[in-house]
Symmetry: C2
Subunit: 264 residues, 2 copies
């Protein structure tokens, strides 16, 4: 059987998006990563800042943005326009043939509006599927997809979707055709053994380790959904998930990559 | 010699962008136009409205937007995000595999920052070239490019560029490989003989007619740059330019298309 080609999927969010010089350095490092790759970005703080300037109050429930009609317009503007186009322009200047996409472009991420249960999240999309053929078509033509955290419902409605979720579904989708490594890049060096010690990075976590970490209460509350999401990816075909600091991806081919490796 | 395949390039702006139900109807009509096509949109009034809400004063010189750093962020948001993604989502719902692009995506429109002469237009791009190969690649894969009026300088800087200009350079670029028809769709039924009579549409204008119209003063001041731009396209290889009302494109294959046809 022919070995699958590798695709690396990177998700960035938080400080690296909010701070222009950190983003600049990340994109330089990112452009040096060899092989096929996909970039997914968030942009929550900028969306909140623009919302406030426009007099729209940002409402969060369990860390998720409630997206009314006005807020949807803000995230379309900030994620789909402002952040996405700045990243694409910078990557083009670094010699990368980048192409920005929302979930509607090429029908890349289809979703449905989240049903109202106890909370009405508004125009938030729960993902139904990813257009793997579309993503592969871009990758196989040496185009680097830069995905904004936006989906659509196929009936003309754009929807707001969490960037971690978009990264996960894209990674799972691509794993049908490629050997996929998914990198969640953020402010910390990885999953920490001790929340008060930034250097207490756990190097590897397997399924069984994860069960132990959960029962022993080592994993912080904020990290738990990220890990659940990551192990779900591994269960669904993603080869490896790496949780790492955004400044470390230049060391991507080092023998000991400085982050937390999750595997089956 | 093999006959060139036809591509129709449509530019929309003004009322059809500002009014959701007019845009909806336009996109339905547009989706029924057969064959390969490209859509270019403006969005000036919405950008002005968002600018005002954000406390940024819109400054226009000779009908062109002066684009300072804050205004650039607004046009990236409004053109690249809000309007572009709404159009793409609607077209996808109509069965069209649309793909939204700024000039940076796939390096589609390269430009340089306009040199300061008497007026400093700020982050406005004068177009250097269009990536014909990129556009053809999309068209030949049954993807419909939806271009926002944004360019980039290849060094990481996004720039604001007039939508009529983007439409013209895209049409000229594509005419190397295709038989191109360029449609400027707007509020009037075409070029008017009498500015006070909406029905006094001039059916055809040739180069020599245009010289006559200019010297006789029939053409209005606002129409003059549009016509100069259009005849420049014809000089550079575009087969036909049509100036028409946005509601008429459903009649595109009618024997007498109700607009003004410009030709060599």
């Amino acid at each position: 059987m022919k070995e699958k080609e590798k695709v690396r999927v990177f998700k960035i969010g938080g400080k690296v998006i909010d701070n222009e010089s950190l983003l600049e350095q990340f994109l330089i490092d990112f452009s040096s990563v060899p092989g096929k790759k996909v970039l997914i970005h968030g942009g929550g703080k900028i969306a909140t800042a623009i919302s406030e300037k426009l007099g729209i109050k940002a409402v969060m429930v369990d860390g998720r943005r409630v997206t009314d009609k006005d807020t949807l317009e803000v995230v379309l503007m900030v994620y789909g326009g402002l952040i996405n186009k700045k990243i694409v322009a910078r990557l083009q200047s670094l010699g990368i043939n980048a192409m920005g996409l929302s979930g509607a472009d090429l029908n890349i991420v289809q979703a449905h509006k989240r049903p109202v249960k106890t909370v009405d999240y508004g125009f938030v999309g729960d993902v139904d599927g990813v257009n793997n053929k579309g993503l592969s078509f871009l990758l196989d033509n040496d185009i680097l997809p830069v995905l904004a955290p936006l989906s659509h419902d196929g009936q003309g409605q754009m929807l707001n979707t969490n960037a971690d979720t978009i990264a996960a579904v894209a990674a799972i989708g691509l794993s049908a055709s490629y050997e996929v490594e998914l990198f969640f890049c953020f402010e910390k060096k990885g999953v920490l053994q001790d929340q008060n010690n930034e250097d207490s990075v756990i190097q590897e976590i397997s399924f069984s380790d994860f069960d132990q970490l959960k029962s022993s209460g080592v994993v912080s509350e904020g990290m738990l959904p990220k890990l659940e999401n990551s192990f779900d990816c591994i269960r669904k075909g993603v080869g490896k998930v790496i949780i790492c600091h955004f400044s470390t991806i230049k060391e991507i081919d080092a023998a000991h990559f400085p982050g937390t490796l999750l595997h089956g």
